[in-house]
Symmetry: C2
Subunit: 324 residues, 2 copies
């Protein structure tokens, strides 16, 4: 099997070679700009990895892998408008550098360009691959909508939250793996199992992200501790706490998330203490563990040599670090 | 051949039957809303008409025709954000009724839903039809970008303008006709000729629209005379006038298009007189006529029974009214 980092490099150099017209410049410059911002290229690398695991031709899987990357950057371009985000990977976002209209229209073109790349598969896979791509794309849009809706809602259930992160983050991992597997001539059953592996791993990974925000070692993860607490982000931790915390602590939590101004470290400390009072961390870790196990169960059922399965297990273990 | 108005009714009732999920409501309500606003359903009807002309099964062409309508409404939803338009077909636009984010994301979903509908063709046509759809979609986005760029540019050539209206308005007519023809089992050559007919007719129709704005009978066409003049819209007439008008009239025209406030009827009268001084109407009519002729030349070469060609000629004559 090829190493994941080699596949990521292959994607990176192939993204650099993508060609777009010069005219109209306002339409195509932002596409070149956002694609050049870099990133880990994890989603398209997963597509190539899936193809490789089933003994397929990685070169043949390259255009659909690029489709996933172009599609992902389309969602970033539009999400950044909606989230009013000034920066993306340390650089000015497209709607800030140009304007909203440019970001809307260039994003639209990227979605279409995604389809053009995704269509570069064998005829006998065309319909199947596009069906998966359609479902993935619709899922991601639904997830983004739910994420926005949740921002202004105060009675979200854990079930609704998990569904949102499944759609917004996980289905694209599942879709990329499934398409890659099919190009590698996996049968439908194995492709579905690999997709399930990816979706459950994606959910576990997002839950880990929620936990790390509060309980992670900032030196190890390079993120400010408590960013989600400061911004009242509806993470698993906050939703679960709103469900479990009672009496005085419930009043305290309700006050902290409505204060218009506050001392940030004080808020992080106080909310973390409330979380600790009802063992939120343990609940979150158990939930994350449950999805990781679902991922490994799906993986176990795939008809691949043990060595290839171990490759996937190692990949999952690398994503889900267990020491914070 | 089926009557065009029957095909339009068939589209209208089929659009009403399109089903979208209930959840998330903020994502799917706007889609149902914009599709229910009505409109002439001309683009999808043309797709059915093309299929019918070649003796194809109109029912089989219905999903791709609906794809064209859903795609068209996606472009309207996003264009209305970009143009800051408060109304569409007399009703509040989606971004005004909800907000920009909802209109961006619901529009994105409509583009994907367009692909899902367009994929409902026979396997042997799938790749060909989607290639046409991709090219059409990219063309429309390029046209919209050029239209926005032209708003703030003062040295657009007639060639650039014609290219813009070709992309923004005409290619989707060509694409719809070509897809319909292929579903009706036309050969590639005839499908291309019918596409050319549609594109040239679309350009002629847009030029007629420019002429009618200034020289049309308002009682006959239900539009305010001079709307384009009042808003300094870069129509064929204005671009040609900026090219031809010299000396005092050039200074006058330059002043009228820079005045921040003015008496509207006075501006319309003054600019129309400047147009008349260099025979702008005659130039525009000649250009429109040239594109109409190109359309008819393409039509003449199609291998269809004379009766079917006459149907298309009558349709074109209906669009291009010659008395204003």
């Amino acid at each position: 099997m090829r190493k994941l980092e080699d596949l990521q490099s292959l994607i990176a150099s192939s993204v650099d070679k993508l060609k777009y017209p010069e005219y109209p410049a306002e339409l195509y410059e932002p596409i070149k700009y956002i694609l050049a911002l870099g990133g880990k290229r994890m989603r398209p690398a997963l597509l190539l990895m899936a193809c490789d695991l089933f003994g397929g031709d990685v070169e043949a899987a390259l255009p659909p892998a690029l489709a996933i990357e172009v599609f992902h950057n389309f969602t970033l371009m539009h999400d950044d408008i909606m989230d009013n985000a000034p920066k993306r990977r340390g650089k000015t976002t497209v709607h800030e550098k140009w304007n909203n209209n440019v970001a809307i229209l260039s994003g639209d073109v990227m979605l279409i360009e995604g389809y053009k790349l995704m269509m570069q598969v064998r005829d006998n896979l065309l319909r199947k691959v596009l069906d998966i791509f359609n479902d993935t794309a619709i899922g991601v849009c639904e997830g983004q909508q739910l994420d926005m809706t949740f921002e202004t809602s105060n009675n979200i259930t854990i079930k609704e939250y998990i569904n949102m992160i499944r759609l917004k983050t996980a289905v694209v991992l599942g879709g990329a793996l499934k398409i890659g597997a099919l190009i590698g001539e996996a049968d439908e059953k194995d492709a579905n199992l690999l997709s399930e592996f990816g979706i459950n791993l994606g959910i576990a990974f997002q839950l880990q992200d929620d936990i790390l925000d509060v309980y992670g070692n900032p030196e190890k993860f390079g993120k400010q501790v408590g960013g989600d607490i400061i911004s009242n982000k509806k993470t698993y931790l906050l939703i679960k706490a709103l469900e479990l915390v009672k009496d005085t602590n419930a009043e305290k939590l309700a006050r902290w998330i409505t204060f218009p101004t506050f001392d940030a470290p004080e808020k992080v400390k106080a909310v973390t203490e409330i979380y600790n009072s009802v063992n939120i961390r343990q609940f979150a870790e158990a939930e994350m563990q449950a999805y990781a196990e679902k991922a490994f169960e799906a993986l176990d059922q795939i008809t691949l040599p043990e060595e290839n399965k171990q490759y996937l297990r190692d990949f999952a273990d690398g994503l889900l670090v267990r020491e914070y």
